[in-house]
Subunit: 361 residues, 2 copies
């Protein structure tokens, strides 16, 4: 081993879902929105000029920050933007989780949390979900260095009601609590209404799901101005200009079209409920979801087998080979047509395999 | 103080140059290119489709990585891309500078280095430039945890000849050495030719200066495949998708137009030499520059006074209120017209002020 190799940071990177280039694939593996962004987004990108691009972007991304503040009814000093919610969350971990006590998050959750903890050498403790995959607020009433959980949780899709979010906040006034609301627009109730009462609360959201802009990498946090200032300071110590001009323009334009946002997220929720009924008819266990995905398991067929069979058929879903969830598939909600192709394939596959489809479980 | 405030990371953020929105300003303060990016860049941005934007970008940014590999004659496994060279350098600090020994960099240099060291709690030592503002390779022959310097250096603009870069490398085989070549295309000789011989060398460059794409935030590192893999691992532990689709498309298109690149950088070098002669006529001390800026001082007029007078006149340059350089201005090379406006103003200002412009110093 070379001497310099000894001082390289050792990490276990997060593994994102595949991004196949083949356009024939039905891609239900990374919780992308099946609909394109609002038409104004492409128009905004077309308006970018060479004279602008040669210059650095506004380091404060004021256009985007102001549009977010207006959209969510908060002050511009309560908004922080980043390169997707992953960037925002990474900055949060770096900024706020610096005690020696472990941070807490669910055992089944977004698998980036333990990666960031590893990267920044933050001690952590995984709190098991109950046997219905629910977060129990009472489990978060112990000494800790911070709390983070997605709501709705991923990959389960289950929503924690706002009073239970508040119960966790009430019990954790001494640490930063981050509610990661990447999927909140698909049927959840945001904790945003609590940021004025809990100065230790950060609500993190993204443009990647409900605003169809995964390709532009835009995420944001909302919280009290002091927290936002601390995040800004760390961000300005890392990279002065994280948001490029295209991202600022696209994000601002996406927020301007509220009608498109409402229509597409409602469509996805409708498709989700239809797909859920169909999957239950095929014998899948398929709990409530407040996200743009379903988390399903079939009592007669191993999760990995289904994952591979679907993949073979050109239908990509997500499979996590992890304790407690290794029989499950996470299926992103696509268009009605895509979900029909999925259920048609599964129906045929399960029939040919010999398992008997049965009623609701 | 609230309990949670005790565990917030304390930092001294980097302060970027101003980005005034007023288009009437002559902006020579952030080393941007005065010319727009190659025409193909805007065309590439116009080709972005909603169907693409709804999906995550390619996490490996393969199009851009391949174009860079081809352009610089290296393997794709020798290239790492990020959100501007600031992001690339931040990732390098996080990945490679983890020993307990201090990293070394010049006392007068890019002022982000000590900010990153502070952010990641990396010990560092500032090595004084000589009294001609030159880097002395012999000063870097001491025990350390890593070495980083810009070449040409900023804000001095001075180039370290390749044999002296190699002298530093030769003396530092046990640590990672980063040569930050943000300005190399304006007359320097890159250390890229050394990456096969020195497996501990990383060469970092950017699209923000010579490729007129500051607004899109694209930087890259080149080095041996093992170093690049380590950087990738840390990057994938921070944010899976740092490069948005617009940045990938714009960067790839910029590389495709080599002729435009050659013409614009040559134009800037010509303008620089012309401006340098004019400034010397006005009595400025103005050393050689291999960058797209000049670092100047006037024996009869304080740097800060000149900075403020220029600002008042709508001409923004950069002033650093720091030891050894507080009488200097860093002036970005703009168009010929912009540089003529600058020198015309300075001539008039110095005349009216009563100092007698005199010859070369």
């Amino acid at each position: 081993m070379r001497e310099w190799e000894k001082h390289i940071r050792r990490v276990e990177p997060y593994v994102p879902g595949e991004q196949p280039k083949d356009r024939g694939i039905i891609k239900l593996n990374t919780n992308e929105n099946p609909y394109p962004p609002a038409p104004g987004v492409l128009e905004a990108l077309k308006r970018l000029e060479g004279e602008g691009l040669r210059k650095y972007p506004d380091p404060a991304a004021a256009d985007l920050t102001e549009a977010l503040a207006e959209n969510y009814g908060v002050g511009t000093d309560q908004v922080f933007v980043g390169v997707g919610s992953d960037d925002v969350l990474a900055m949060c971990f770096l900024t706020f989780f610096n005690s020696k006590k472990p941070i807490l998050f669910p055992d089944i959750t977004y698998s980036f949390y333990d990666v960031w903890a590893g990267l920044f050498q933050i001690p952590f403790e995984r709190i098991p979900l109950d046997d219905q995959f629910k977060i129990r607020p009472e489990d978060y009433k112990k000494e800790n260095g911070g709390v983070i959980f997605p709501n709705p949780n991923a990959p389960t899709g289950l929503l924690l009601p706002l009073d239970q979010v508040e119960e966790i906040l009430e019990a954790n006034r001494d640490v930063i609590v981050i509610v990661d609301e990447a999927y909140i627009d698909f049927g959840g109730v945001s904790a945003l209404s609590l940021i004025d009462r809990y100065d230790n609360l950060l609500v993190v959201q993204t443009f990647s799901k409900s605003r169809s802009l995964a390709g532009m990498r835009i995420g944001f946090a909302m919280g009290n101005p002091q927290l936002i200032r601390c995040l800004q300071d760390v961000k300005y110590s890392f990279n002065s200009y994280t948001m490029n001009q295209a991202a600022i323009a696209a994000g601002t334009a996406a927020l301007a079209d509220r009608d498109y946002f409402e229509r597409t997220r409602k469509k996805i929720m409708d498709t989700r409920e239809k797909a859920r009924r169909e999957l239950r008819k095929l014998g899948f266990v398929c709990r409530d979801s407040a996200a743009n995905f379903l988390f399903v398991t079939h009592p007669d067929c191993p999760g990995e087998e289904l994952f591979l069979a679907l993949r073979q058929a050109g239908i990509y879903v997500r499979y996590f080979n992890k304790p407690r969830i290794d029989q499950y598939l996470r299926i992103t909600i696509g268009t009605d047509e895509e979900m029909e192709a999925l259920t048609a394939f599964l129906k045929k596959y399960l029939e040919e395999r010999g398992g008997t489809p049965h009623g609701n479980v």
